[in-house]
């Protein structure tokens, strides 16, 4: 289990070693999540159309270690973009992965860029 958790570490845009193309913009739902798989990682991708911003984070919910976060609802709390896990509705910031319920566990986030209608996610390995 620990191994699974360690697989997911936040990557800052400046640390990216490889940008992986994961599909075209239209493959992803608007204002909702979808999941992509890259090697052994499952990454949830969220597209906020009101600000036209994209976010990516681990699909693994650290609460009970289930691969579900891409299936949660998204939105914002006082302007911070967030998602709510579909299982127990714990919420996490999509900006920095922090836990918005004040609990200790948080999630890893990844940079996303769009070029010529293609969605890329940045990894540091």
């Amino acid at each position: 289990m620990e191994e699974l958790v360690n697989l997911y570490q936040t990557v800052q845009a400046t640390e990216v070693l490889s940008w992986v193309s994961v599909g075209s913009v239209s493959d992803f739902p608007e204002n909702a999540g979808a999941c992509i798989k890259h090697k052994s990682r499952q990454i949830a991708v969220y597209h906020f159309t009101r600000t036209n911003k994209w976010y990516a984070c681990q699909n693994l919910c650290p609460h009970k270690m289930e691969m579900v976060l891409s299936r949660g609802l998204s939105g914002d709390a006082a302007g911070i973009p967030k998602l709510a896990c579909p299982i127990h509705k714990k919420t996490f910031s999509l900006e920095d992965g922090s836990n918005l319920n004040g609990e200790e566990y948080s999630i890893a986030t990844y940079p996303v860029k769009i070029e010529n209608g293609i969605v890329y996610i940045g990894f540091a390995d």
Binding site: L4, V22, G23, D27, F28, P29, E30, N31, A32, A34, C35, I36, K37, H38, Q42, V45, F48, R50, T51, K64, M65, E66, M67, V68, R71, G72, L73, S74, G75, D76, A77, A78, G79, P81, K82, A84, P86, I87, K89, T91, E104
Partner: protein, 836 residues
């Protein structure tokens, strides 16, 4: 820098730390805290919740990091054995010593164990720490596995009853044994105790009063208790709750004065007999008393800190011991002096055995002041009465109104307005928050709403008993400032669900984004999106496939997400009637996709363990065989349960199955503020449990009786009669009106039962709306329902027929692979998710 050493990291010790870090002179002090337990301070008041929590950490007053983050050195699992008062040093059990300038002792108390022969036997417990509860749970599990179920609690006081309830919840047959002739002898009179006794017996606890335990019998393990009257009671385990003893060993070992019956003697500055040493909480003997409640302990913490920091704060001369009993499924409260019946006092009592309510108030002879009282069965007036008592407020002309309620027209709150309370009135006694502090938090502009006030003042964060009053004060204060108080659904829409419903309707808003643009803000969230989805569905009968992104995640995938992220599939089986052919199909589909199969409590069949990508394939087969979505995932009509009725049953009066199917077919797919369930029984034997549902129909001579607003779940309620002896069509007509009225006016996630409770005028008013049509809207309601019924579509059929929709069920956007992380373990001849 002066060093404070705090011995004891319990609730009061924690409060001392909390107050210290926000003290203006914080920088002058360095603090070192010793706690004998292995974890930081936790909430003992809510200790019994341990059994239902996911992790005991949820009980922590603050996580371990909090101490370090605030510059507090916390050393747990370290016990202080003595104090060298001369050299100002404490000595730990590891024989290390630490110097202090100020010493605060907050070592609490431990349960008192009466001397009973045999009390060293296995199976005897106390009820004070998380470890105690762990041990109780483990031992009771062991007993249950051996088929032994008898448990006894020695002591019928507040804590004993709480422990007894916990023991019962653990599945043990529980006996409460009390030495006195009544329960909660310090708080209740005989009549109140009698009523409480009958109430707790009705939830399955056994009560034995006037019993003096003599010996615990058993061969190594507890097997029975023998009483001094010669009788015995066979029990397999015992929880002792016979009062508390202050943990004053430390003081005794160090020459600090203690009382005759224990407790460290303190004055009104919380100073002990040795200068520079303070005692607070349950270990402190103040006014010759030990106070086993958090509120006085918190006050002591504030006083001790103020004194150390050079202030002049003193402890209140008299301590209020008013209490409310939690948890035992019935309300009990006592305040002030519950018993007085002296020359200058009169008791007024009200008892209604049928409703199970007893109320008593003691008032001064001239009728002007409230001295104390007792409430059993209904403590809704507690906060009001307590305020009248504690603030010594003048009573209304007819003091009996306080417990009988004002009869006659125009009844108003007995207190007048909460704003009439003096500013000094203590509203939250645990956190010592006055009415003035709450009002000021708002008036100064520092807080805008209830949430802010609670965060800022901490009112109602401890036992929560004062919450209703805090809510009222916040509401009234906002109102007095001309600010409207609204039940808004979240930060994105400043409206109630009913207002949003009307806004969508009036503006003919057709989508969520448009709603955000016209009367909302931000991106929305997991609260307002499903609420808006439900409103759009109720107005336009749109299915969950229309605005996918705002559906709650179960509706988005048209299935219930389960523990491991797989889904369950529940096709509709209207009225619970199913042909053998369809039953075979369910079996075949379950087998083909390897699904765990179970008959639900709603007379249908649930297939668990389907992966996201399998859902459309499963539904394709089900739909081809004539099934439809059962909406088990939606806040919508679930099932209309039926009994077999007059078609087969020898007692049946009418055909309940046919009627149940007709009703279920009519309302299937109907989205509502919360889920809706119905039932139809063929006679008053009520085998369909119709009165446990949001609407229940029961066959009687001459037609159907229609009951509404029942509920199972955590707060079961029987549905109430709305109309009797109806023919089929009238019954449906009334149901239409009732349902639309509910859908239009209820708050989000409010079932019909709590909705009716809040509806002004209650069932009588509902009858007027539905039966007498006092609003003149019956025709509109019926037409609205007809429209919705007409536009029904099976959302699963829609989904599998639309290639665009099918994309939703693809696990990954960038590959055709499926999720391999899923792990199942075998269960009997089926499977289940790996445990968490």
């Amino acid at each position: 820098m002066e060093r404070i050493i705090l011995v004891g990291n319990g609730m009061v010790g924690y409060k001392f730390c909390e107050k210290l870090i926000s003290h203006p002179n914080r920088d002058q002090f360095d603090i070192l805290v010793f706690g004998e337990e292995n974890r930081p301070a936790y909430d003992r008041v809510h200790l019994s919740e341990y059994f239902t929590l996911e992790s005991p950490d949820e009980l922590l007053m603050a996580p371990r990091d909090w101490y370090a983050d605030n510059g507090i050195t916390l050393r747990t699992s370290e016990m202080i054995l003595s104090v060298d008062t001369e050299n100002k040093k404490v000595v730990t059990h590891k024989n290390e010593s630490f110097e202090y300038d100020h010493l605060v002792i907050a070592t609490g108390s431990s349960p008192f164990i009466p001397t009973i022969k045999g009390s060293e036997k296995e199976g005897i417990f106390i009820y004070r720490t998380i470890e105690d509860l762990e041990a109780i749970q483990t031992y009771s599990d062991k007993l249950k596995a051996k088929g032994r179920y008898q448990s006894a609690v020695l002591g019928g006081g507040l804590l004993g009853l709480e422990a007894a309830n916990a023991s019962k919840e653990l599945g043990m047959t529980t006996h409460v044994i009390e030495f006195a002739g009544k329960l909660m002898p310090r708080q209740l009179d005989q009549a109140a105790s009698d009523l409480l006794q009958s109430k707790i017996q009705s939830i399955g606890l056994k009560v034995h009063l006037g019993k003096n335990s003599k010996e615990i019998i058993g061969d190594g393990e507890t097997e029975a208790i023998e009483f001094t009257d010669g009788t015995t009671l066979a029990v397999d385990m015992i929880i002792i709750s016979a009062g508390i003893r202050p943990r004053d060993e430390l003081a005794r070992n160090s020459g600090i004065a203690v009382g005759e019956r224990g407790g460290i003697v303190v004055n009104n500055r919380m100073e002990t007999s040795v200068p520079g040493i303070y005692a607070i909480g349950e270990v402190a003997l103040y006014n010759q008393n030990i106070y086993g409640l958090v509120a006085p302990g918190y006050e002591m913490a504030a006083v001790a800190l103020d004194q150390i920091a050079g202030g002049t704060k003193l402890m209140s001369p008299s301590i209020d011991m008013s209490t409310q009993l939690k948890l035992v499924g019935t309300e009990v409260a006592s305040f002030g002096d519950p018993f007085v019946e002296s020359e200058d006092a009169i008791a007024i009592r009200y008892e209604n055995k049928q409703r199970g309510v007893y109320k008593r108030i003691n008032i001064s002879k001239d009728g002007s002041r409230l001295l104390g009282g007792i409430l059993v069965g209904d403590s809704s007036d507690y906060n009001t009465l307590f305020q009248l008592y504690i603030n010594g407020m003048k009573l209304p002309e007819n003091a009996e109104d306080l417990i009988l309620g004002q009869r006659g027209a125009g009844s108003k709150s007995l207190l007048g307005s909460v704003l009439d309370l003096p500013d000094t009135a203590q509203i939250c006694s645990c956190e010592a928050v006055s009415k003035g502090a709450i009002c000021d938090a708002i008036k100064s502009g520092c807080c805008q709403d209830l949430k802010g006030v609670i965060k800022h003042t901490k009112a109602s964060t401890s036992c929560g008993g004062c919450k209703p009053m805090v809510v009222d004060i916040v509401k009234e204060t906002l109102k007095s400032l001309g600010k409207e108080v609204k039940e808004t659904i979240c930060e994105h829409f400043e409206y109630s669900r009913q207002e949003l419903f009307d806004l969508v309707k009036l503006n003919n808003t057709t989508g969520y984004d448009e709603a955000l643009d016209t009367f909302g803000k931000g991106h929305g969230c997991e609260i307002c999106k499903p609420v808006m989805a439900s409103i759009f569905a109720s107005i336009f009968m749109e299915t969950a496939n229309k605005q996918v992104a705002i559906q709650d995640s179960n509706d988005r995938f048209l299935a219930n997400i389960q523990r491991n992220g797989t889904y369950s599939v529940v096709p509709r089986v209207a009225g619970g009637e199913i042909t053998p052919e369809k039953l075979v199909v369910l079996g075949q589909v379950a087998k083909k996709f390897d699904l765990y199969t179970k008959i639900t409590g709603g007379q249908r069949i649930d297939l668990f363990g389907a992966q996201l990508h399998e859902l459309p394939m499963i539904w394709k087969e089900l739909i081809d065989a004539g099934f439809e979505s059962g909406h088990a995932y939606g806040k919508s009509l679930r099932t209309v349960k039926s009994c077999v009725g007059s078609t087969w049953c020898r007692f049946g009066l009418h055909d309940s199955v046919s009627f149940a199917i007709r009703i279920e077919e009519r309302y299937k797919g109907l989205r509502s503020p919360h889920k809706l369930k119905g039932g139809v029984s063929g006679c008053i034997r009520e085998c369909a449990e119709a009165r446990g549902k949001d609407f229940g129909v029961i066959a009687v001579e001459g037609g159907w009786n229609l009951y509404v607003c029942g509920n199972g779940g955590a707060n079961p309620k029987h549905a109430i009669l709305l109309a009797s002896q109806l023919d089929d069509d009238t019954c449906i007509k009334y149901l239409d009106r009732f349902l639309i009225y509910y859908i239009r006016t209820a708050g989000p996630l409010v079932r019909t039962a709590p909705w009716l409770e809040k509806l002004e005028g209650g069932i009588e008013y509902l009858k007027k709306v539905v039966v007498e049509d006092c609003l003149g809207m019956a025709a509109e309601f019926e037409a609205e329902m007809d429209g919705l019924v007409e536009r029904y579509a099976c959302e699963w059929k829609e989904a599998i027929e639309d290639p665009e929709t099918l994309k939703r069920f693809k696990p990954f956007v960038n590959t055709e692979e499926t999720d391999e992380e899923l792990v199942f373990v075998p269960l009997r001849e089926q499977k289940m998710p790996r445990p968490w």
